[in-house]
Symmetry: C2
């Protein structure tokens, strides 16, 4: 029997893969970009290549004990089917079966936010605690929940959609079709949209500059760079993000009273621009006892939360 497991974190922009021994020591890691035009077979090929790469790096040949895989989109943990992953162009793909055939090892599939939560719980900010909420703030906003020391998935694997808490009933339209979802107001996509509107209205000079003068190149990341360079309009956009994320986090504290809340995802690169506003709003809206008993932090594993969660899941699927 093989003594190695592999974890794979499939994202909209990258595939991150790691190999570990069965006692959890990571031996090799690799990261490749996702190619948007790749579609399903192409992404499968890329995944297999990364697995071969980490085996090569670690000098390991032969079969793997188990492979843990985190994938975006609503999916079915039991059947291993991904229902929909718009960033990858996937609809109803049998990811578990496909990868088991290619890799010749049992594959355990879960939602990427769930495995990022699990990674932080086992190896990162949640070590030694029992209730952790991992919130990813990126193009969208989602969450993974570890409650009572176990990954909590809900009745149809749909738990953690914190981005679709209503925070402003008549607020902006969300891609989910509703209005006033947290994601429609505080995600990277929302920041980009607000920056565009600002520029279209004749403002946002510093924001435009950070994007090399092209409005098409303006993203949440370039707005963040402008803010970090001191641009007040960019900073104001992130203060707003902090206010709304604070409302969402306060809701989590009041409802779940977790011991740890971890913020991850691309927007956390600009955390210094919104953390103060976030803390202020949490302090205002969360119960003092819930605020006192939580550690509120950015992801300790940074971009490795997901892949290390996939490794931990491969080591002990449940």
């Amino acid at each position: 029997m093989s003594n190695y497991v592999v974890g794979v974190d499939i994202g909209g922009t990258k595939i991150y893969t790691a190999l570990a021994t069965i006692d959890g020591q990571v031996q090799a890691e690799t990261k490749v970009p996702t190619i948007p035009s790749d579609k399903y077979e192409g992404v499968l090929n890329r995944i297999v290549e990364t697995v071969e790469e980490v085996q090569r790096q670690a000098g390991v040949s032969g079969g793997l004990l188990r492979v843990g895989v985190g994938a975006p989109g609503p999916l079915d943990v039991a059947s291993g089917i991904v229902h929909e992953a718009p960033n990858l162009g996937w609809v109803e793909v049998p990811l578990k079966d496909s990868l088991e055939k290619r890799l010749g090892a049992p594959v355990y599939l879960d939602n990427d936010a769930n495995l990022a939560a699990w990674g932080e719980y086992i190896y990162g900010a949640g070590r030694g605690t029992s209730d952790l909420v991992y919130i990813t703030v990126s193009t969208g906003i989602g969450a993974g929940l570890v409650l009572g020391g176990r990954l909590y998935r809900g009745a149809s694997y749909g738990a953690g959609e914190i981005g679709h808490l209503t925070v402003l009933p008549d607020g902006p339209e969300c891609r989910c079709g509703n209005r006033g979802c947290l994601e429609a107001i505080a995600s990277g996509t929302a920041v980009t949209r607000k920056a565009w509107r600002m520029i279209a209205g004749g403002g946002g000079k510093g924001i435009l500059e950070s994007a090399g003068g092209s409005i098409d190149a303006v993203t949440a990341a370039t707005v963040g760079e402008a803010g970090l360079r001191g641009d007040p309009e960019a900073q104001a956009l992130f203060v707003e993000v902090g206010y709304w994320l604070g409302i969402g986090v306060a809701g989590i504290l009041n409802l779940l009273n977790p011991s740890v809340v971890v913020l991850g995802g691309g927007m956390v690169g600009s955390a210094s621009l919104f953390w103060g506003a976030l803390e202020e709003e949490v302090g205002r809206r969360a119960f003092k006892s819930a605020r006192k008993s939580v550690s509120l932090t950015t992801a300790k594993l940074v971009e490795r939360s997901g892949v290390l969660g996939a490794v931990a899941y491969a080591l002990k699927p449940e």
Copy 2:
């Protein structure tokens, strides 16, 4: 060793007590009003009387195996201290110790909403499922969570404060000190306040009538009676309640994807006045898959959810 357990549900208006055999057969129940002037010793006396009463009814003498107790307010399950129960005038009372001395049996204390959730999970709407959220809509709004088949209490026993989710950031002030909490907009207290304002503004004739013509006698219950008799102003107030509760319930579905959501508490007596609006808003804001996999219902045990949960907790404390 005794073969009997007792469950006690201490509310702001009544004490409900039941005795059961160790295989969970309820043998006797009793209910007495809480007397507001009673304070701590008085309530303890009333509780002891109800326990003696159910023992008498069941023809059982001698010690009890265990007593499960649900009490309002933030409390510490481990130490058995109730931090604050405004309706009872309690501050930092050692309820578990006091009752153990009086009753001569081990007492297991928990939050009343938690035990109501547990009651519905073991004996009511949640039988055979694993993830249940019980929402009590009364003078305040709170919840108990059963997740993965276990009562989920959070890091400092503070989980379930769904009444303090922000649903309208600049909304009305809440007794917790914040603005726009669900409780400040959709609780019985909020309905009463809106009815008062309506009457003060020269409207609400039918509402006033249901309260015998005295504005001081107007409560959420009398507004409900007016609505059930066909008064359109009362009905409009409850449609509003349904809208806001729907936003809260949709948030629960998106975040926790439970198999059952149970609504209990006094306001549920007027459920027919707000259920349609609630369902409509849930349908609008919750993910379809989460909506499809949940059973959304009023409490099957009606006012006995809490006392039967206390019995179940006494049978198997955890």
